[in-house]
């Protein structure tokens, strides 16, 4: 198990390296070159960048220098916000995005699993169809449509909740963005849970459990649930990526000062260093989470083989 963990860790390092490499060389490929860009940079930033990227040095040197910087948490200065480094901005936005994401993930798993199990156990009843119809809607309606609708209904017409803003993390300000972010995840997880639960409930070992004289409740709780949730666990990796991606839009719509918002602003303003820093940061996050999920999966499923 331990060696498996190390091996998986060792595998994720090259992946991260690829992310950094692609980002770096994409930047260098930019028409005209990003660093002698299309618009005039303020001289102090120009000087900063020249110094930070050693633009007089050969390309490989610049690359390794950038790599070295990243290892120390230094992504260089921002193009646009002259007084901040990229790391400053990322660390300013990260706690906000993290909080949002954690809540959304929690809601997604709790509601998704409950709805999915319930629908599976009531298979082919009206309730099942209703819940699965709702889940389909959750998947079909993208969160950048859902978020404005929620704002319109609860913020504008009903005035129950603020339309946007963060207000240093007031609870009321979090409700709508968290829900908008969680809905597609709830929908996905519910559908997935239902499918795997139905499959597991039809399997032979569930028949064995029934033949032992267990009540239906115990059959589900002791035998079916864990097996049925294994696919959900492995979905948590992609779910993280989904939530991070979603947070980009949600933060934009609700005007929340998270990484996602900086990222979109940076992309629109061609703040190259910030875009690149965020991509690398997000990449690291997603890779890390995939690793954690894999390890959890390994702990849950005794059939997993560690030798490959």
């Amino acid at each position: 198990m331990l060696s498996y963990a190390f091996k998986r860790l060792a595998q994720s390092i090259p992946t991260l390296f690829i992310v950094i490499t692609i980002s770096f060389f994409l930047m260098r490929l930019a028409p005209g070159g990003p660093f002698d860009g299309e618009r005039k940079l303020p001289p102090e930033i120009e000087a900063n960048i020249l110094a930070a990227y050693n633009l007089d040095k050969p390309l490989y040197w610049q690359f390794f220098d950038y790599l070295g910087g990243i290892l120390q948490g230094d992504f260089g200065p921002s193009f646009k916000y002259k007084d901040f480094t990229v790391s400053d901005l990322i660390w300013a936005g990260f706690p906000v995005s993290l909080e949002l994401g954690m809540w959304a993930m929690l809601l997604g798993v709790v509601f998704g699993v409950s709805i999915g199990c319930y629908a599976a156990l009531k298979q082919n009843t009206r309730l099942d169809y209703l819940m699965m119809g709702g889940a389909m809607a959750g998947i079909a309606i993208p969160n950048f449509v859902m978020a404005p609708i929620l704002t319109l209904v609860f913020g504008v017409y009903l005035s129950w909740l603020p339309v946007g803003g963060w207000d240093s993390g007031a609870v009321a300000n979090k409700v709508l963005p968290v829900i908008a972010l969680a809905l597609p995840q709830i929908a996905y997880i519910a559908r997935m849970t239902r499918g795997s639960m139905i499959e597991v409930m039809g399997s032979h070992f569930i028949r064995t459990a029934r033949a032992k004289g267990l009540s239906e409740r115990k059959v589900v709780r002791r035998h079916a649930l864990k097996s049925a949730l294994l696919p959900v666990v492995s979905y948590l990796g992609p779910a993280t990526a989904g939530i991070i991606t979603g947070s980009v839009v949600i933060e934009q719509i609700f005007g929340i000062p998270g990484i996602g918002r900086y990222f979109v602003q940076a992309a629109l303003n061609r703040d190259y260093t910030l875009v690149m820093g965020t991509v690398v940061f997000y990449g690291a996050l997603i890779i890390l989470f995939n690793l954690v999920v894999d390890l959890i999966y390994g702990l849950l499923d005794p059939q997993i083989r560690y030798d490959d």
Binding site: K7, F205, R207, G213, H223, D301
Partner: protein
């Protein structure tokens, strides 16, 4: 036997409500089981025997309906019983062992947890008491090294061991009735014999009544007091085992009893020319592991095997799963890479490229085990049979090809009018005939028969065996017949190789192998296949 029956099934009907309509699986089955008695439900696939068995504990999926009938355990009605009532009976008074040892255990729990659960549920034992009892049960059912196995997960055990765990689970509360639904079908013959001996022994020790579901009359003969013969959802005959075997009343029972493949094959003349020769054939699969997928060892699937086939001969290759017999067959046809020398019609073929092999392919054909898997589901059977002709007779006109297909189908007794249908519209036996037609349309000299009858019911098996023998006589074919089923091999082969772990255990004339086996392993196999009683003394318990 005159005692009050412990289990009574009366006029049981079971329907399945499917999208396509209602299917009646069981139509008015009645039988009763007395204390300490063993009753066998015998039938081929589709007879409704398993459905009947699963109805008793109400374990069928929700699509099952019970329009009529009654199932009483100890006077208590089971059909429509409250869940609470059923739960006190299931696993406690009436226990069940299933056919599929591979999938019937929860893969995420240790075997101890799973067996102990029955005890905590019905006997209110705490963990420690339960562990002691589980250990006792594991020893009782003959799980070697029981203490260490407690913490094992199902995937860490062999099929036979898993079935022993299932039996331990069923016996945990010393039930009155044990229902065993084809408990040995998925196992190798020698393991089968051990499990049967174990069940018989335990039944006597605990004085249980046993309802035994099987398709195998050999097992019934040795284990059951009484027999119910089922066919298409109905009981066609029932009576004491001795009577039914000695004096079967119903024609279907007689057909089943006759379904043991019979006859034997005379060897070809001594001077018949050698058709195929293999020397030191080796198939080793590398085992990779470690950081850079290094080769850490080899699975010796086939380890230096030599054989010679004369024209008109049938060489039987016998072995249990994992013995390498199928791999050997594929290696000889060059369907997978191997080391060693192979000569066909006197010419070496081991070094040939696929292109050079192509003209030889029509002379060496193959029929596989799985009649469901060996025909491409998206081709009509006419296309399936014509495919070989398109490869080897590219100049043949469409009409000539059609004529050849029709002739081939007639040869295997399939109505040629059905040639535009798809494989799923045919039964298992028919598909196997189609697979034979696909090979025969090329007029081969040599046929590799890889377990061609193993997936079929006995009564269908016999017909396929007869067909193969008739074709051999008519065309002077040479067969390499691979099977785990000694009864079929005895009827088909004139020479036999017994394989185990990729090696030859014994090689000789069929009558010598069957009547005067020299090796222990051969004797075990024969005993397990033909005379289950014999293994009683030698069982591993």
């Amino acid at each position: 036997m005159a005692e009050q029956p412990i289990l009574e099934v009366e006029n049981l009907h079971v329907d399945f409500a499917l999208h396509t309509g209602t299917v009646s699986a069981v139509k008015g089955v009645s039988f009763s089981l007395s204390k300490g008695e063993t009753l066998a439900l015998v039938g081929e696939s589709g007879s409704g025997k398993s459905v009947t068995a699963l109805s008793i504990l109400q374990l069928l999926p929700p699509v099952a309906r019970y329009p009529q009938g009654s199932i009483r355990y100890d006077g208590q009605e089971m059909l429509g019983a409250r869940p609470g009532t059923l739960q006190t009976i299931r696993g406690n008074r009436v226990a069940m062992v299933f056919q599929e040892p591979m999938t019937s255990l929860n893969p995420l729990q240790t075997v101890e947890q799973q067996v102990a659960e029955v005890l905590t549920e019905h006997r209110g034992m705490d963990r420690k008491e339960a562990r002691a009892r589980v250990l006792e049960l594991f020893r009782l059912v003959g799980i070697p090294d029981a203490e260490r196995r407690l913490s094992a997960y199902p995937h860490e055990l062999s099929g036979g061991q898993r079935q022993r765990v299932m039996i331990a689970m069923a016996l945990a509360c010393e039930p009155d009735v044990l229902i065993a639904d084809e408990p040995t079908t998925a196992l190798d013959v020698t393991i089968q014999a051990q499990i049967m001996a174990l069940l018989k022994d335990l039944k006597q020790r605990f004085g249980m009544a046993m309802l035994f579901i099987t398709h195998d009359l050999g097992i019934v003969h040795h284990f059951a007091d009484r027999v119910c013969v089922m066919r298409l959802g109905e009981v066609v005959e029932q009576g004491s085992t001795r009577e039914v075997f000695a004096n079967p009343q119903h024609p279907y029972t007689r057909e089943l009893l006759d379904a043991e493949p019979h006859g034997h094959k005379e060897p070809p003349p001594e001077d018949a020319p050698v058709l195929l020769e293999a020397r030191d054939v080796k198939v080793w699969f590398p085992i990779r592991g470690g950081w850079f997928s290094r080769v850490t060892g080899h699975v010796k699937a086939v380890d230096r095997i030599s054989l010679t086939l004369r024209e008109g001969q049938t060489l039987g290759i016998v072995g249990e799963s994992g013995s390498g017999k199928s791999t050997l067959g594929k290696a000889i046809l060059k369907l997978l890479d191997s080391d060693g020398r192979i000569r066909f019609e006197g010419a070496a073929i081991d070094g040939l490229s696929p292109l050079q092999m192509k003209p030889l392919r029509r002379k060496m054909q193959v029929v596989f085990q799985d009649p469901f898997g060996s025909l491409s589901p998206r081709m009509t059977i006419g296309e399936v049979i014509a495919e070989g002709l398109k490869v080897h007779e590219p100049l043949m006109s469409a009409r000539q090809r059609e004529a050849a297909v029709i002739q081939a189908l007639e040869e295997v007794a399939i109505d040629p009018g059905l040639r535009n249908r798809y494989p799923h519209e045919f039964s298992g036996g028919q598909r196997q005939r189609i697979a034979i037609a696909r090979a025969m349309v090329l007029k081969p000299k040599f046929l590799l028969l890889d377990e061609p009858t193993s997936a079929l019911d006995r009564s269908v098996q016999v017909k396929v065996v007869d067909l193969l023998k008739a074709l051999q006589r008519k065309y002077g074919l040479t067969y390499l017949f691979i099977s785990h089923d000694l009864a079929v091999v005895r009827a088909m082969a004139d020479e036999v190789i017994v394989m185990q772990h990729g090696r030859v255990v014994e090689h000789g004339r069929a009558e010598q192998i069957f009547h005067h086996p020299r090796q222990d392993y051969t004797r075990q196999l024969l005993a397990a296949s033909f005379d289950l009683e014999l293994t009683d003394g030698a069982r591993v318990a």
